[in-house]
């Protein structure tokens, strides 16, 4: 990579991002605050060959995850063959009984997967998490790239980088493939949602309608969008940015006011595609993560190309033994939590906390997974104009149409706190552009 002047433009780029409204909303103490999502101009650079390897591994993983979800809501062969214990399925918060026996259009459950990876100091990539419900974040590197190109055109002339602005094209291809006939709508809970910027950005870029629940209505087993003049347009695909529980008060959470009553019945009859498919959270459960390499073997007859971080399931006796013996070396994760919450590093606990945690672990073994702490490769960020190493991960986006498609970019998030491994934006992290080299 040639040295470039982009890093000198840090302030300008961040100012422009703020002006475009690139913000992240968070709820703290019941109060909604929007905060800027700090952008670091030093990109993460992934070589062409290395990305090819990642791409192959990601396609394989998401294909297997989709097979798993389809199996769970139909024949349940993987349970009958005792590869995955049934309690990990039925007790997962993402398992929805209402999805049993319901086949989504084209059999796709994982339309958009956000797979979190880290690179260890040994250069090996590890999968940290599969985000399948409503993964967010692709808009940030897209708009950052757009602004960077304007601030420092030379940088992009002298480096051979895959254009990442085609994400919307992938999005459109995926949505059109699942569409059952009609308009495509992006369903947002509204502007007080953490990712509202992204919802409006995607709608603008893909030409889909941006709608809230009140603008959509079910009539005679079809879904319609009501436009500003009161005209009704049939809808064939909904890229919904609200979670399963809130989607339909008639089937799921009864008090939901942001959903669309009876939309689930339209979906059940195959008259609309819901993107992503309801119930797919059963596969992004931290407990199920442990089984993904086994799924790849089971459904595809292949060995996993991308490895999981070494994970132990205290549910199994021998794993419990290992976890208790090597407790101090591990990181423990509550399977029901997300967004960097419910993650504890054993070596940061006091003696009393360790004792209490071990007791809890023995009482509720299914609730936790334990993982080896991966020594991430640090990535430089600019802090007061000086290059400083920080922990960072990569969220890769895989979209499913006829074939899985991997976006040649991704969201690189870093921790601003030098001692922290947690990079989630809801925990105050920042982001970088991810360059995939084209030669």
């Amino acid at each position: 990579m040639k040295d470039f002047e982009l890093t000198k433009q840090s302030e300008t780029v961040n100012e422009l991002l703020a002006r475009y409204g690139v913000k992240f909303g968070i709820y703290k103490n019941n109060e909604f605050r929007e905060q800027l999502f700090p952008f670091d101009t030093i990109p993460r650079v992934i070589g062409k060959e290395e990305f090819c390897y990642l791409e192959k591994g990601l396609k394989q993983r998401v294909t297997a995850l989709n097979c798993f979800i389809r199996d769970i809501y139909s024949e349940k062969k993987i349970i009958k063959d005792k590869v995955v214990p049934e309690e990990f399925v039925y007790l997962s918060s993402g398992y929805l009984a209402a999805c049993d026996g319901v086949m989504p259009p084209k059999g796709i459950y994982t339309h958009i997967a956000g797979i979190d990876l880290v690179q260890g100091k040994n250069k090996e990539w590890y999968i940290l998490e599969d985000n399948l419900r409503v993964p967010s974040g692709a808009s940030y590197p897209m708009i950052a790239r757009e602004i960077c190109r304007r601030s420092s055109p030379d940088t992009f002339e002298s480096n051979h980088i895959e254009d990442n602005r085609d994400y919307t094209k992938l999005l459109r291809t995926m949505m059109d493939y699942s569409n059952t006939g009609g308009h495509t709508v992006i369903l947002t809970p509204g502007r007080y949602n953490a990712a509202y910027f992204e919802h409006s950005y995607f709608a603008e870029k893909t030409g889909a309608h941006l709608a809230t629940g009140s603008e959509l209505t079910v009539e005679d087993d079809y879904l319609y969008f009501i436009d500003y003049s009161g005209r009704k347009e049939k809808v064939g695909a909904v890229y919904r940015r609200i979670s399963d529980e809130y989607l339909d008060p008639m089937t799921f959470y009864e008090e939901s006011v942001i959903g669309i009553p009876n939309i689930y019945d339209v979906y059940r009859k195959g008259h609309v595609a819901l993107i992503n498919a309801p119930g797919n959270g059963v596969a992004d459960d931290k407990g199920i993560y442990y089984f993904v390499p086994k799924m790849i073997r089971y459904y595809l007859g292949e060995e996993a190309i991308l490895q999981n971080a070494p994970t132990y399931l205290p549910f199994y006796e021998e794993d419990m033994k290992y976890v208790l013996e090597h407790f101090d070396e591990l990181v423990l994760k509550d399977v029901a939590e997300a967004g960097g919450y419910g993650v504890v590093f054993a070596n940061k606990m006091t003696a009393q906390e360790k004792e209490d945690f071990k007791k809890l672990l023995k009482k509720e073994p299914r609730r936790f997974i334990a993982q080896e702490v991966i020594d991430f490769m640090d990535i430089d960020i600019l802090e007061d104009g000086i290059r400083t190493p920080r922990k960072a991960d990569l969220r890769a986006f895989v979209l499913m149409a006829e074939e899985p498609m991997v976006w040649k970019s991704g969201l690189t998030r870093f921790s601003r706190n030098p001692d922290s491994f947690i990079v989630n934006s809801s925990q105050g992290g920042g982001f970088k552009d991810t360059w995939v080299l084209s030669q």
Binding site: K76, A97, A98, V218, D220, D221, M250, P261, D265, K269
Partner: protein, 288 residues
């Protein structure tokens, strides 16, 4: 085996006119291994277009939207059923059994249910009891620990809470019994239906005995035979609510439910069976 006729009636009165009323109903009994529905008709007021479907548990659903203003919403279901069919050894219904093995937020045990469960297990020879006997024992235990009392619990009351109160209605009896069975990893499901006589809708429990589902009515400490007509089943109450609806309008609503089940040829009075009292004739359609 009995030939029964039934009439289920549900009515919501709104204090002000409402509109854009969207509803989903699970109020139609279906033929199962133990009951055959010979005839079933429904009327919905206001009369609009109604869609039909089945949910993932196999329950029959009706849903629709009433756009125009109305102050009353009424559902009537009438029909005939043969109950108490027991000439088969194995279930024919295709259902996923495992999903009923696990606790739900409404049945999840806390300290009190766990203690009650341990007390049951301490009974002499409990571990040697066949499944049916264990389930009967749970049923009896539930009946002994709850007193029938209307208006204290709500649809959100958990099994643990109603056991702590020591009071509840059929829904609470069913939830506590489900909680006990599931602690034992016995697949058990919540059932909504109607009981011989006059009253509201009723709720009980079905347990999978390894070959087929058997009904147990903990409110009455009664094994389900030919006196019950089943409407729907699920993991707990929330899977089976007879009516879910949203509407637009600033209105208070009052709901009344009334169900009547009688034998077709020889009508017999059912003494000693507890049901919710029929509420004073309000909403009973004329001509009945």
């Amino acid at each position: 085996m009995k030939n029964l006729q039934f009439h289920y009636h549900m009515e919501i009165l709104f204090s002000q006119p409402v509109h854009s009323h969207i509803y989903t109903l699970k109020c139609l009994p279906v033929t199962t291994d133990t009951q055959q529905i010979k005839a079933c008709e429904y009327t919905i007021y206001p009369a609009g277009k109604v869609q039909e479907s089945y949910d993932s548990f196999g329950n029959r659903m009706l849903y629709g939207t009433e756009k125009g203003e109305h102050t009353r919403f009424q559902v009537d279901v009438t029909g005939r059923a043969v109950t108490g069919i027991c000439d088969m050894d194995r279930q024919k219904e295709k259902t996923d059994i495992s999903v009923y093995k696990y606790q739900t937020p409404l049945t999840k045990p806390q300290e009190r249910i766990r203690r009650l469960f341990m007390d049951c297990r301490r009974q002499a020879d409990f571990s040697k009891m066949p499944l049916e006997e264990k389930v009967r024992f749970y049923m009896k235990t539930v009946q002994q620990h709850l007193t029938y009392h209307k208006g204290i619990t709500t649809i959100y009351t958990t099994a643990e809470e109603s056991l702590a109160l020591g009071k509840g209605v059929c829904q609470d009896y069913a939830h506590v019994m489900l909680s006990l069975c599931r602690e034992e990893k016995i697949p058990a499901r919540y059932v909504v239906g109607m009981l011989m006589g006059e009253g509201e809708s009723h709720a009980w429990v079905e347990v999978f005995d390894g070959a087929k589902w058997r009904g147990y009515d903990p409110t009455n400490n009664l094994e389900v035979g030919d006196l019950h007509i089943k409407i729907s089943h699920g993991r707990d109450y929330s899977d089976c609510s007879i009516n879910r609806g949203v509407f637009t309008g600033q209105a208070k609503q009052s709901q009344s439910i009334w169900a009547e089940v009688s034998e077709i040829q020889t009508e017999q009075a059912m003494g000693g069976i507890r049901q919710d009292d029929y509420d004073g004739g309000k909403g009973k359609p004329s001509g009945q």
